[in-house]
C-alpha cells in the first residue's frame, strides 16, 4: 500500500472546484485526494513557489494500435534523431513523432499528463490496441472505438433501426473494451474501399445508400440515449479540404437538436478542429475559417472541440481517414501506407513536414490558436496537437506558451509566411490564457467532457493524479514564455495514483495505469436479436469467428469499467 502524501504549499489551480491559484496543500491517501491526511507517516512534496494542478488529461492522441505502429515501422529515419537509453527505472526506446510504447508513457508523465485517450481503435484491431496500452506505463488510458463506417452501423442506419444500433454500439464497446464512439469521415471510409470518398453530408455510401448526415445523427442519438460518458468523438467529412468549415458547421447543425445525455449539454465533440476549419476554395487561396467556426461554437452549447494544433516540424500523419491520406500522399509525394480493416474501418499514414514558409501551413498553425482564443468558454475547447498529426506531443509546452503569451505568438508569427497576417485574424487577438484557463483546457474540461468524474480535479475523492510545475505564477509574466515552456516540459513532480512517478522531470517509478472502458447493459431481447444478426454476418463476411472477436479479460490486467445507464424503448 502506497503511503500518504501531502503536496505542500503550492499555488493550486483546480477550476472544477473554483480554486484559482490559492496557496494550499493537497492531501493524497489510498490513491485518492482526501480532505486531510492524519498520522506522521505521510511524505511531503514541497510545492512552494510552484504551480499545482490535477494530472493532465489528453482527450485525443494516437498512442497505441496498428496505426501508430505502422507509423513506427515506416519511420526509422524519424527514430534515429531521438533515441532514449535505458535507465535504472526505465526501458529504452525511441521518441519523436512515433514514440515507442514505453517512451510514450514516460514522456506524457514527464509533462505532468496522467491520462491519455487513444482516439481511434478499429474493433478488429482492439486486441492489438490493448496489447500496446498494456506496454504504456504510468498513464491511464482508454481507446475510442471506430464505428462510423462499420457495416452494422450502416446497416442499422439504413434500416432506421435505432434500438438495434444502440444495442450494437453497447455490445461493441464491451467487445472492444472501448470508451467512446469514434466516427471518422462517416461514409467516406466505406467508399474508400472502392477507391472513392464522400464530398459532403448528403453524398451516399455505395450499396448502403445512407448519407454521412444519417450516420452522424443516428450515432449521436444512440450515444446520448445510451447515456455514454463522452459524446460522439467526430472527425468530420472533408478534412483538409479548403472551405470545409462549412461542412463542419453543417454537421453541427445536423446534430443540434439531439437531446444530450443526462448531466451534460454537449452532444458532439469535433476533433482536431484546425483541420476542419479551412476557408477558401483551394490550397492556393486557402484562409482561416476559424472565426466562423468559433462564432458558431460560441452560440451553440452542444459543441466541444479540440485543436489539433500545428507544430512546425517533421511529423507523421495518421488517421482513420484513408482517402484523405491518399490525397496527402499525392500532394507531397511522401511515402504512403494505406491499411483497410474488413467490414469496419481503414487508416492511412503519411510523413509530413509543417514548414514556416509554407503559406497553407502558416495559416493552419494560426487556425488552431484562433480557435483556442476565439471560443470564449475554455470548458469547450481543448488543447491537443492530435499527436502526432499536427505535431508530436512533446511540443505541448510550446502550445501552452502560445496560448498564454501573445509575445510567444508574435515571435513565432514573425518567422512565418506573411499569409498568416493577411488570411487569419490571429495578429488581432490579444487574449492570453491564465493558469486557470490552462488547467481547464488541459485537464479539468477534458476530464469533464469525457465524463471522468474522478479525473481533472483535486476535490475530495478524485484520483490522486497531480502535477507540480516549477513556475511561480505570482511573478510570472507572459513575456517570460520561455520559462513557461521549460516548466511544462519537465514537471517538478508528477504523482500518479498517489505515487511520485516523476521527480525533477525524470521518471522515478513506472506503475501500470488503468485502462478505462464503458459497460452498458443491453436488454435481453435486443441482445438476442443482435447476436443472431452478428452471427450471420460474421459467418458470411468476416474472416474470424464471432467467438474469437471480443477482447478477452486477459488483455485488461488493469481494466476500469464505467457503467452507463441507457434509455431503451
Amino acid at each position: 500500500m502506497m503511503g500518504d502524501l501531502i503536496v505542500k504549499g503550492g499555488y493550486v489551480y483546480d477550476p472544477l472546484n473554483g480554486v484559482k491559484g490559492d496557496k494550499m496543500d493537497v492531501f493524497l491517501s489510498g490513491g485518492k485526494v482526501v480532505e486531510e491526511v492524519k498520522g506522521r507517516d505521510a511524505k511531503t512534496v514541497d510545492a512552494s513557489g510552484k504551480v499545482v494542478m490535477a494530472g493532465g488529461v489528453d482527450i485525443h492522441s494516437h498512442i497505441a494500435g496498428s496505426k501508430i505502429n505502422i507509423g513506427r515501422l515506416l519511420r526509422p529515419e524519424d527514430h534515429r534523431k531521438d533515441v532514449v537509453p535505458r535507465t535504472r527505472y526505465t526501458r529504452s526506446g525511441v521518441g519523436y513523432s512515433c514514440p515507442s510504447t514505453f517512451v510514450t508513457g514516460y514522456r506524457y508523465a514527464q509533462m505532468g499528463y496522467t491520462s491519455v485517450m487513444e482516439a481511434a481503435m478499429p474493433p478488429l484491431g482492439a486486441r492489438h490496441v490493448h496489447e500496446e496500452l498494456n506496454d504504456i506505463p504510468i498513464i491511464d488510458k482508454a481507446g475510442f472505438t471506430l464505428l462510423g463506417n462499420n457495416h452494422f452501423t450502416l446497416k442499422y442506419v439504413k434500416e432506421g433501426d435505432m434500438e438495434g444500433l444502440k444495442a450494437f454500439v453497447a455490445w461493441m464497446l464491451w467487445a472492444t473494451r472501448g470508451y467512446a464512439v469514434k466516427i471518422v469521415n462517416p461514409g467516406g471510409v466505406e467508399n474508400w474501399k472502392w477507391g472513392r470518398n464522400v464530398g459532403g453530408l448528403d453524398d451516399l455510401v455505395y450499396n448502403y445508400e445512407v448519407s454521412p448526415r444519417q450516420i452522424v445523427t443516428s450515432l449521436a442519438r444512440a450515444n446520448e440515449e445510451l447515456g455514454l460518458p463522452h459524446t460522439i468523438h467526430l472527425h468530420c467529412n472533408n478534412l483538409g479540404v479548403p472551405g470545409n468549415y462549412e461542412t463542419t458547421i453543417e454537421t453541427l447543425e445536423a446534430v443540434k437538436g439531439i437531446k444530450a445525455a443526462e448531466g451534460r449539454e454537449a452532444n458532439v465533440h469535433i476533433v482536431h478542429a484546425q483541420f476542419n476549419a479551412l476557408d477558401g476554395e483551394n490550397w492556393m487561396n486557402v484562409k482561416s475559417g476559424a472565426s466562423k467556426l468559433a462564432k458558431y461554437v460560441n452560440a451553440n452549447e452542444n459543441v466541444t472541440l479540440d485543436l489539433g494544433q500545428v507544430i512546425f516540424t517533421d511529423t507523421t500523419t495518421m488517421t482513420g481517414d484513408g482517402p484523405w491520406q491518399f490525397r496527402l500522399h499525392n500532394m507531397t509525394g511522401n511515402k504512403w501506407v494505406n491499411s483497410d480493416v474488413e467490414m469496419e474501418a481503414g487508416a492511412g499514414v503519411v510523413p509530413y513536414t509543417f514548414k514556416k514558409d509554407n503559406p497553407a501551413n502558416a495559416i493552419q498553425w494560426a487556425i488552431g490558436l484562433e480557435l483556442a482564443l476565439l471560443v470564449y468558454d475554455p470548458w469547450r475547447v481543448y488543447m491537443t496537437t492530435d499527436h502526432p498529426n499536427g505535431g508530436p506531443m512533446i511540443y505541448y509546452p510550446k502550445v501552452i506558451s502560445w496560448l498564454m503569451s501573445r509575445k510567444a505568438r508574435t515571435d513565432t508569427m514573425l518567422e512565418l509566411n506573411k499569409s498568416v497576417m493577411r488570411r487569419t485574424t490571429l495578429a488581432n487577438i490579444y487574449r492570453e490564457y491564465d493558469f486557470n484557463e490552462l488547467a481547464t483546457v488541459t485537464r479539468a474540461a477534458t476530464a469533464k467532457a469525457l465524463g471522468m468524474d474522478h479525473k481533472g480535479h483535486l476535490g475530495t475523492g478524485a484520483d490522486a493524479d497531480v502535477s507540480v510545475y516549477d513556475i511561480d505564477p505570482s511573478t510570472w509574466r507572459p513575456s517570460m514564455y520561455k520559462e513557461l515552456e521549460k516548466a511544462f516540459a519537465k514537471a517538478a513532480y508528477t504523482i500518479k495514483g498517489g505515487e511520485v512517478v516523476v521527480k525533477d522531470g525524470e521518471v522515478v517509478a513506472t506503475p501500470l495505469g488503468a485502462t478505462h472502458w464503458v459497460k452498458s447493459e443491453v436488454p435481453e431481447a435486443l441482445e438476442t436479436e443482435l447476436m443472431k444478426d452478428l452471427e450471420a454476418d460474421f459467418r458470411d463476411y468476416y474472416t474470424i469467428n464471432l467467438a474469437n472477436y471480443p477482447v478477452e479479460d486477459a488483455y485488461l490486467p488493469t481494466g476500469r469499467p464505467m457503467t452507463a445507464e441507457g434509455r431503451w424503448r
Binding site: 515506416l74 519511420r75 526509422p76 529515419e77 524519424d78 534515429r80 511522401n334 511515402k335
Partner: protein
C-alpha cells in the same frame, strides 16, 4: 595541418565503433585526452588507446587537423563519420559507415571500405582507392534523402545501391558498379568508368540528376527510353573537372565522345538521364 597518428594495435574480432576518429572530436584535445576517448565494442565501453597507438600533433581547429590511421581497420566502424572539416587518411581498409554523414573536409581510404561508406554525405570529399561495398553514398533505412552534397570517388568497384535516394552531389566510380546504382535518384551526378550492372537508375525521379556510363552497361531498364545520341557540352566540362580536379586521367579519353541519352524512369514519371558513352 597538424597530423595525429593512430596506429592500430590489436583489434578485436567484434567491431570497434569509433566515431571519435574524426577531426571535429580530436581537435583542441591533448594526446592523453584523445587516447582516452570512448569507443564501443559490443556492449562494452573501451578507450581508443586500447586499440590504437596515439601519437603526433593536435590542432585547435578541426580544419587544421589531419588524422592518419596507419594500418588496416576493416572492423573499425564510423571512421570520419559526421566530420565537418580537416582530413582523415586511412592507410589501409576502413570498416562500415566510413565518412558517413560527413559534411566537409577530406577523407582518403587507401584500401577498401565496407557498406554505407559516405552514406547521407552532405559535403566534403571521400576518396576510396580500392573497392567500396554496398550502399556507398546511399540513404539509411527509411530516409527519403541519401547523399545531399559533396563528392565520393571510388577507384575500385562499388556494390549495390550506390547513391540510393541521391539528391545532390557527385559520385565517381573508376571500376564496375553492381545493380541498382542510383536507385530512387532525385538529383546529383554519378559517373561510372567501368561496367555498369543492370537496373541502374531504377525508379529515379531525375530532378536534374544523371548517371554517366563511360565503360558500358549490362542492360538499360525497359522503362527508360532512348532519346538521342549527342555530344553534350556539359559532359566535356565534367570530364575536364574529373581529370583536373580529381586527378582521374582516364576522363580525358571521353572529351569528344558522343553519348546515347536515355530518359526515365518512366515507371515513376521521372526525367533522370542515363548517358552511355558510344564505344
Amino acid at each position: 595541418m597538424k597530423e595525429l597518428w593512430l596506429t592500430p594495435t590489436a583489434l578485436p574480432s567484434i567491431p570497434v565503433e569509433a566515431e571519435v576518429i574524426c577531426p571535429d572530436v580530436v581537435a583542441g584535445r591533448t594526446l592523453k585526452d584523445v587516447s582516452s576517448l570512448e569507443v564501443y565494442v559490443g556492449n562494452k565501453t573501451h578507450i581508443l588507446g586500447e586499440f590504437f597507438e596515439v601519437e603526433g600533433e593536435l590542432a585547435e581547429q578541426a580544419s587544421e587537423q589531419m588524422i592518419v590511421v596507419d594500418g588496416t581497420c576493416q572492423t573499425v566502424k564510423y571512421i570520419g563519420a559526421k566530420m565537418t572539416a580537416g582530413s582523415v587518411h586511412v592507410k589501409g581498409c576502413a570498416g562500415m559507415h566510413a565518412g558517413s554523414q560527413m559534411s566537409g573536409g577530406e577523407m582518403l581510404v587507401e584500401g577498401n571500405t565496407r557498406d554505407w561508406a559516405g552514406a547521407e554525405m552532405s559535403g566534403g570529399l571521400l576518396r576510396i582507392q580500392d573497392d567500396s561495398r554496398n550502399m556507398t553514398g546511399g540513404a539509411y533505412r527509411g530516409s527519403p534523402e541519401g547523399m545531399t552534397g559533396g563528392c565520393i570517388v571510388v577507384e575500385g568497384d562499388a556494390g549495390v545501391e550506390l547513391g540510393s535516394f541521391m539528391r545532390r552531389g557527385m559520385i565517381v566510380v573508376k571500376g564496375d558498379v553492381a545493380p541498382f546504382c542510383g536507385v530512387h535518384m532525385n538529383g546529383g551526378e554519378i559517373f561510372i568508368m567501368g561496367q555498369a550492372a543492370r537496373r541502374l537508375g531504377a525508379e529515379a525521379k531525375g530532378n536534374g540528376g544523371f548517371i554517366a556510363c563511360l565503360g558500358g552497361v549490362d542492360e538499360i531498364l525497359p522503362t527508360y527510353v532512348h532519346e538521342t545520341t549527342y555530344k553534350p557540352t556539359f559532359m566535356k566540362l565534367y570530364m575536364r573537372q574529373l581529370r583536373d580536379v580529381l586527378g582521374l586521367e582516364e576522363a580525358a579519353r571521353f572529351l569528344e565522345t558522343p553519348f546515347r541519352r536515355y530518359v526515365g524512369d518512366l515507371a515513376v514519371g521521372g526525367n533522370c538521364e542515363i548517358l552511355v558513352a558510344e564505344k
